[in-house]
């Protein structure tokens, strides 16, 4: 319990650091007034704009206002539209999740079984073929895969519309683009985790005691192999929001990734800040969940944590 609490506090601290860093990096990068009003804008208008958005205040003042705002869940207004930035972001979030969640599920459903299959045929031609395919899958950049798919299905065959969300068919190309990479990573990782566990002596013990290979796999190999995989799944899940920037831009997907690129180009600080915070927060949250679940799954880690807390108690007492 104490471990969980300290872990949560640390997560909040990380989030604060992230928010501060984003704020300063953006504030120092350019003047939003000139960016939005254009270089030829009259000085009075620029001045009025700065008044309106408190851009004349000192950096520290703005920082404090900004952080206080975050604490009260007030993320400010968009320079471009004047609407609350959070609303703009929230209207785009569903599209991103609608793309990324199915992508994640499909990648797991393809990657893990393929990895297991390859590990069980370790060293054979099938194994090498699968592993080559998975390397190609994640080594070829998404923008290249996306453009090739678009050329094939939209330009050449004319089967699919190249951009936006029109029907369920719109999901096909973006998903293939990302699943090819993610499933490849999952497959490789699953395979190497499996191969390691497959040579563990506990398997000999159980087979010698009468288990057949299928039972050995189910009771011993898979549970142990899936532990390291959890980290990878966490990494993907933490990237749900920010992971599709490139793909969204290629296929003109009306999601957060595209909004991020647009907002950065326009120096729409509030929007950029929210998106960066969201990406960071989801990464931190998922990491926290993964860490917590390790304790549930692996008794060794549970014990280590228990003992370290005991030591802290002794030290403070």
């Amino acid at each position: 319990m104490q471990w969980t609490l300290s872990r949560i506090l640390r997560s909040l601290l990380t989030l604060l650091l992230l928010a501060s860093f984003t704020f300063f990096a953006l504030s120092l990068s350019a003047d939003p007034a000139l960016q939005i009003l254009g270089p030829d804008a009259q000085p009075e208008i620029v001045q009025a704009f700065k008044e309106r958005w408190h851009l004349n205040d000192s950096l520290w003042q703005r920082y404090v206002t900004y952080i206080m705002g975050i604490i009260q869940l007030d993320f400010g207004l968009s320079y471009r539209t004047g609407a609350p930035a959070i609303d703009i972001v929230m209207t785009r979030l569903p599209a991103t999740l609608a793309l990324m969640i199915p992508t994640g599920i499909a990648s797991l459903l393809i990657g893990i079984p393929v990895g297991i299959y390859a590990a069980l045929r370790q060293g054979t031609r099938t194994d090498r073929l699968i592993m080559t395919a998975s390397v190609v899958g994640f080594a070829v950049p998404n923008f290249l895969v996306g453009i090739l798919l678009m050329y094939l299905f939209s330009v050449w065959l004319g089967w699919l519309t190249p951009s936006g969300i029109i029907s369920w068919m719109s999901w096909i190309m973006p998903m293939i683009t990302m699943v090819s990479a993610e499933a490849g990573i999952f497959a490789r990782f699953t395979r190497s985790a499996m191969v390691e566990i497959l040579s563990h002596p506990m398997l000999d013990t159980s087979l010698a005691g009468g288990l057949n290979e299928h039972q050995g796999l189910r009771h011993h190999v898979l549970p142990n192999a899936l532990i390291p995989l959890l980290t990878l799944v966490g990494l993907f899940a933490g990237n749900l929001i920010g992971g599709a920037v490139i793909t969204e831009n290629i296929f003109a997907w009306p999601g957060l990734g595209r909004l991020l690129v647009e907002s950065v180009a326009a120096r729409d600080f509030a929007v950029v800040q929210i998106i960066v915070l969201l990406i960071g927060a989801s990464m931190i949250l998922i990491n926290l969940l993964v860490d917590l679940s390790y304790g549930f799954i692996d008794p060794r880690i549970r014990d280590t944590r228990r003992i370290s807390i005991k030591r802290n108690k002794v030290a403070t007492a």
């Binding site: 563990h200 002596p201 506990m202 000999d204 013990t205 159980s206 087979l207 010698a208 005691g209 009468g210 288990l211 057949n212 039972q215 009771h219 011993h220 549970p223 142990n224 532990i227 799954i297 692996d298 008794p299 060794r300 014990d303 280590t304 003992i307 370290s308 005991k310 030591r311 802290n312």
Partner: protein, 550 residues
């Protein structure tokens, strides 16, 4: 009359082998046989030993019987169990006998169990798979059979919470879950200390006696085999070179390899050379060392240790793993700093800083257990031995090569091996090269940390022999660390017995082994497997120059 006939018949039944392996061959490439024409048989309730060095094929033989050969290996031959015949070439078919007829335990108990499952889950899984009642009580009963005292409290424990000995008992319980007729024990106690070894092997013997289960005991330790087995097969290079009852095989060894094995056991002939009268070179003064583990618990690796290493002495340090032996050695080379207390080298505090410190490094050398790990895999043998001279800038550069060659030849490494890389040498050769790397600097103190423990007994004996010869020639002081009492007894002038970081007993070798004072030392010595030594031991150590000290 009828009674007698019946009893005769049952005698016959008993005498008839219930388990026989015939013409077992194992091959990895389909051409050369790694295991060749192995035949042996087992009676009911018998403990049958297989002895041989690592790589002699003893483990492969047993894996073939269990149908657990590695994928690339193919086997031929047949297995006869209680009137049933099985083809060993059909490894998949052997699944039927695993668990219920034949079961096996392995060398490393700490990794024999699934780290994510409690002891109870393990037991229940194995019980239910073998169609036995899998209640909590059945689990407790099974653990009790395997010699676990107070089994109830361990049911909910995870493997990492158990000691090596407890893990091995759980592994035995798992192997017993299907009530097998035959249990194969592949080096079951090699990873454990002698006291646990005795407990576990006694338990196996008792189980065999009570249940009529036959045991195949594989070991490299001839003492273990001679104490616990009725019959033995000696394996060498994939063949059984000798087979028969233990007394006959060991007392009238026919094959040269068996003779060598037995000779290497007579290590104790070279004890007590009594050379602890030199000036102290290394002086531990109430040294304490404590570590903080990653989990936060504090380990006292050394507690109040005071001892002197004298000039020209071999000081043996013995103890089970975790007793602080290695810390003992690491302090002497500055790899571990004492938390309190001090260590003096020739009456000056030991310090490795500055120019004098560098000089000191040259004078204190360290030989590790893992010879493959301690040599650079990409440098040939000769250059490995020249390297220390270059590092310490000893002698003229053009003479270093000759010096290295001379030393290597003295150590029995022939010129044909000079251009080889560590991987293509045998363990014994590699360890001699590690030794040469240390000795070429003409150190005054040599620290051997389990330096011969990874070697097979015969090679171990040769290496020890060489070490003692060199020690005499160079008047070296040696800190010799080992968990193996017989090695310690063979080589040391004085012995330090360590436990939980403390010195339990310190005495000269002769009195320590003959009149041990501390209870722990007594139980260590009592647990050593007894070997009925042949009347006329043929020992390679009876060389005159070695016996000068006596």
């Amino acid at each position: 009359m009828t009674q007698q006939i019946i009893s005769n018949i049952s005698d016959l039944e008993m005498a008839k082998p219930r388990f026989a392996v015939s013409d077992l061959c194992i091959s990895f490439d389909g051409k050369t046989n790694i295991v060749d024409q192995v035949n042996f048989s087992l009676n009911k309730g018998e403990i049958f030993g297989i002895v041989g060095e690592s790589g002699s094929g003893k483990s492969l033989t047993c894996r073939a019987i269990m149908g657990l050969l590695p994928n690339k290996a193919t086997a031929s031959g047949s297995l006869h169990i209680d009137g049933q015949d099985y083809e060993l070439s059909n490894q998949a078919q052997l699944h039927k006998i695993r668990g219920s007829i034949c079961s096996m335990i392995f060398q490393d108990p700490m990794s024999a169990l699934n780290p994510l499952m409690t002891v109870e889950k393990h037991l229940k899984l194995h019980l239910s798979i073998n169609n036995q009642q899998s209640s909590r009580n059945a689990c407790i009963h099974l653990l009790k059979t395997a010699g676990m005292s107070n089994p109830k409290q361990y049911l909910d424990a995870y493997p990492h919470q158990l000691s090596g000995g407890q893990c091995q008992r759980v592994a035995i319980a798992l192997a017993m879950a299907g009530k097998p007729d035959i249990l194969i024990a592949d080096e079951p106690t090699t990873a454990l200390d002698v006291i646990l070894q005795a407990e576990i092997l006694d338990k196996l013997t008792q189980i065999a006696k009570n249940t009529g289960m036959s045991v195949i005991l594989i070991s490299h330790d001839i003492g273990v085999i001679s104490q616990y087995c009725s019959r033995v097969a000696v394996m060498y290079k994939g063949k059984i070179v000798e087979q028969g009852d233990v007394d006959t095989v060991f007392n009238h060894a026919q094959h040269s390899y068996t003779q060598e094995l037995i000779a290497s056991l007579s290590l104790s002939t070279l004890t007590h050379l009594g050379r602890c009268d030199g000036a102290p070179v290394l002086n531990y003064q109430s040294v304490n060392v404590s570590y903080t583990r990653p989990d936060g618990s504090i380990v006292k690796a050394m507690q109040n240790v005071s001892v002197n290493l004298h000039k020209g002495e071999i000081l043996g340090i013995v103890g089970e793993s975790g007793s602080g032996k290695t810390t003992f050695a690491k302090i002497a080379v500055g790899l571990v700093k004492p938390s309190s207390g001090g260590i003096q080298f020739e009456d000056k505090p030991l310090s490795f800083s500055g120019q004098r410190g560098k000089k000191l490094r040259q004078r204190i050398q360290y030989v590790l257990q893992d010879s493959l790990g301690s040599l650079d895999p990409r440098i040939d043998v000769l250059s490995q031995v020249i390297e220390p001279l270059t590092i310490h800038n000893v002698g003229a550069p053009n003479q270093r090569r000759d010096k290295a060659i001379k030393l290597l030849e003295r150590m029995g490494i022939t010129a044909s091996l000079f251009s080889r890389y560590p991987r293509s040498l045998s363990g014994g050769q590699r360890q001699r090269i590690s030794l040469a790397r240390s000795l070429i600097l003409q150190p005054e103190i040599l620290i051997c940390d389990e330096s011969v423990s990874a070697l097979d007994v015969a090679v171990q004996a040769q290496t020890l022999n060489l070490l003692v010869e060199l020690q005499r020639e160079l008047n070296l002081s040696i800190l010799f660390i080992s968990h193996d009492l017989s090695v310690i007894r063979h080589i040391s002038d004085r012995v330090v017995v360590m436990r939980f970081g403390e010195i339990v007993e310190l005495a000269d070798t002769h009195s320590l082994f003959n009149t041990p004072k501390h209870e722990y030392t007594k139980s260590l010595i009592a647990s050593l497997p007894e070997f009925n030594r042949p009347t006329e031991p043929t020992t390679p150590f009876d060389t005159p120059d070695l016996m000068v000290g006596e």
